[in-house]
């Protein structure tokens, strides 16, 4: 069968991955068009990292079809991996090696041609802002520096597709900003990015498109604005109330088909601009009115309880 030139950098169709205790990915359908940054949002255990591992064929699907840059996985996974840069959730840098050596090894692994290797490593060091720490052993770098190095390692061969698994976890706000600009730069260069994250703000700022993942499947997909509009409406009404009263409000809202979420001491009614008159009267005026956010969508769609 000839490989059809596709506009999708990543295609997953009905992909299922079972572990003995849990089905980590459960009939997942996901397409990532070339050149966009897709934010993969989901609570702990939703299957984000497993999805990433499926894309590098470090995990083999039990069912379904996976294509990366038009290549069929797992048969053509090696070619696919050559085109990808991967930044894993867990730091797996070589602690015994220096920053430069870490990058050199991966420049070799990614088969950067000999003449270009030195320049590629220097560029990656600059990207990680570690040029003056090139000779420092990784074990002696700070957490933020390591994270930057980890990201630069996945970019040393200037891939057209980058998988970022929670790239900014545990970083201070300044370093996070820097990484955001880096990701923005990647997109400007036309690189496709699949980025998982817990930080809603990160997705709102960086992602062209968001996919909300829960229990191994995508439960919503769209641009952040579209998702907010569709699932949380324009405005949210917050009512500060006791736990019992919150439960009552939740029941009333559920009856009227209005989505709610707990927000600590208050309960939030989404799509409050569409609230039925009767409900509005029963509840009285809210304590706070605020614009709906992607976080509201995230919590409502992926469930509040952490399993």
């Amino acid at each position: 069968m000839p490989i059809v030139a596709s506009m999708d950098a990543i295609v997953l169709h009905g992909v299922t991955k079972r572990y003995p205790d849990v089905t980590a990915v459960d009939g997942l359908d996901l397409e990532v068009p070339e050149g966009i940054c897709l934010g993969l949002l989901g609570p702990n255990g939703a299957g984000k990292s497993t999805t990433m591992r499926l894309l590098t064929a470090q995990s083999l699907a039990d069912e379904g079809e996976i294509r990366v840059m038009g290549l069929r996985l797992p048969q053509q996974s090696k070619q696919a991996r050559a085109l990808m840069g991967v930044v894993p959730q867990l730091d797996n840098l070589d602690e015994e090696l220096t920053a430069r050596e870490n990058l050199e090894v991966f420049a070799h692994l990614y088969r950067v041609p000999r003449q270009e290797r030195r320049a590629a490593v220097d560029r990656a060091l600059a990207l990680a802002q570690l040029t003056d720490r090139a000779a420092t052993r990784t074990v002696n770098l700070s957490g933020g520096m390591r994270r930057r190095l980890l990201i630069a390692r996945g970019l040393v061969h200037q891939p057209r597709l980058v998988l970022l698994d929670e790239p900014t976890v545990g970083l201070d706000p300044q370093v996070r900003q820097e990484l955001w600009s880096l990701i923005v730069r990647l997109r400007e260069e036309g690189v496709t990015t699949l980025m998982s994250t817990h930080y809603i703000e990160e997705a709102e700022r960086l992602a062209d498109d968001c996919a909300l993942m829960s229990h191994g499947r995508i439960v919503a997909r769209g641009s952040p604005e579209e998702l907010v509009k569709e699932h949380a409406g324009a405005e949210v009404a917050e009512h500060y109330a006791s736990q019992e009263r919150q439960a009552e409000i939740a029941a009333l809202a559920a009856e009227a088909g209005v989505p709610t979420r707990r927000t600590g001491p208050s309960i939030s009614l989404l799509k409050s601009e569409q609230l039925p008159r009767s409900l509005e009267e029963a509840l009285g005026p809210p304590n706070v009115r605020r614009p709906a956010t992607l976080e509201d969508v995230f919590v409502v769609l992926t469930g509040e309880a952490v399993e």
């Binding site: 572990y19 591992r53 590098t56 064929a57 470090q58 995990s59 083999l60 090696k78 070619q79 991996r81 050559a82 990808m84 991967v86 894993p88 867990l90 797996n92 840098l93 070589d94 602690e95 015994e96 090696l97 050596e101 050199e104 090894v105 991966f106 070799h108 692994l109 990614y110 088969r111």
Partner: protein, 253 residues
């Protein structure tokens, strides 16, 4: 398809590590055989004198080549591989790049085998310093060390992928490596042992290594050495298949 580029890339990492640790590696490689030679060659040798026409310390100097190869190959294969896989997640990082498990295993084992081939010569060179007569056949010893080192490195990689924890290596060392080390003809000929033990030595790769090394160094290689070579090669192929199989099961889920 198995490719060379990824193998070389993994070697590149080993080289970076070696550049950092070569001094301690080399010190250990030279000192250990010297101790064996002094202890056994001189201590024992003064009692034994000659054995089958060899000066006893020459007998030990050639035999200890196999011991060095065993330690470098098997310990490197077991401990390095286990630590890199489970604690450092080095292999997880590498397998996200265009590298296959078999290329990874081949690279790790062959690097150790080269080390075993090179450092395996140390006891022989120490032996020369103590009076072992140099011969052209000695030039074959690194290659014998390489092949045997490959067998034990792959054995180590295989074991590292089946043990539940690093402590389990104790069983392997005591239950497998030590007996192999004892019945290989290193310090005394296997013919001195009860018949069933001597028979068991025939399936001990280390015994075949010792025979080949002595054959090469003492210039008496013959047709039976093709048999030794055949056994070692067969072991290497078998161990490669086992190591790749189990490592793949551990690294790809």
């Amino acid at each position: 398809m198995m490719e060379f580029a990824p193998v070389r890339a993994v070697w590149r990492r080993e080289l970076a590590l070696y550049r950092r640790y070569w001094a301690s590696t080399s010190f250990a490689a030279m000192t250990e055989p010297t101790i064996y030679l002094l202890a056994f060659g001189y201590g024992f040798g003064s009692v034994v004198g000659a054995l089958y026409g060899y000066d006893y310390k020459d007998f030990v100097a050639t035999g200890v080549v196999a011991t060095a190869v065993l330690f470098i190959g098997a310990f490197g294969g077991m401990f390095n591989t286990f630590i890199r896989r489970t604690f450092q997640h080095t292999y997880d990082a590498m397998l996200a790049a265009p590298v296959d498990v078999r290329e990874l295993v081949t690279a790790e084992a062959s690097w150790l085998a080269v080390k075993a081939g090179v450092y395996g010569c140390a006891p022989m060179l120490v032996g020369v310093a103590f009076g072992l007569e140099p011969s052209w056949g000695m030039l074959l010893v690194p290659f014998i060390g390489f092949l045997t080192g490959l067998v034990f490195a792959l054995f180590g990689v295989w074991v590292s992928a089946i043990v539940p924890s690093i402590n389990t290596f104790d069983y392997v060392i005591t239950g497998a490596l030590t007996p192999m080390f004892m019945v290989a003809g290193t310090f005394f000929p296997v013919t001195q042992l009860p018949a069933w033990v001597a028979a068991a030595a025939q399936v001990n790769p280390l015994y075949h290594c010792v025979e080949l090394v002595r054959g090469a160094v003492f210039g008496r290689l013959g047709l039976d050495d093709l048999g030794h070579l055949g056994v070692l090669s067969a072991c290497a192929v078998l161990m490669w298949a086992l190591a790749v199989w189990k490592m793949r099961a551990r690294l790809i889920d």
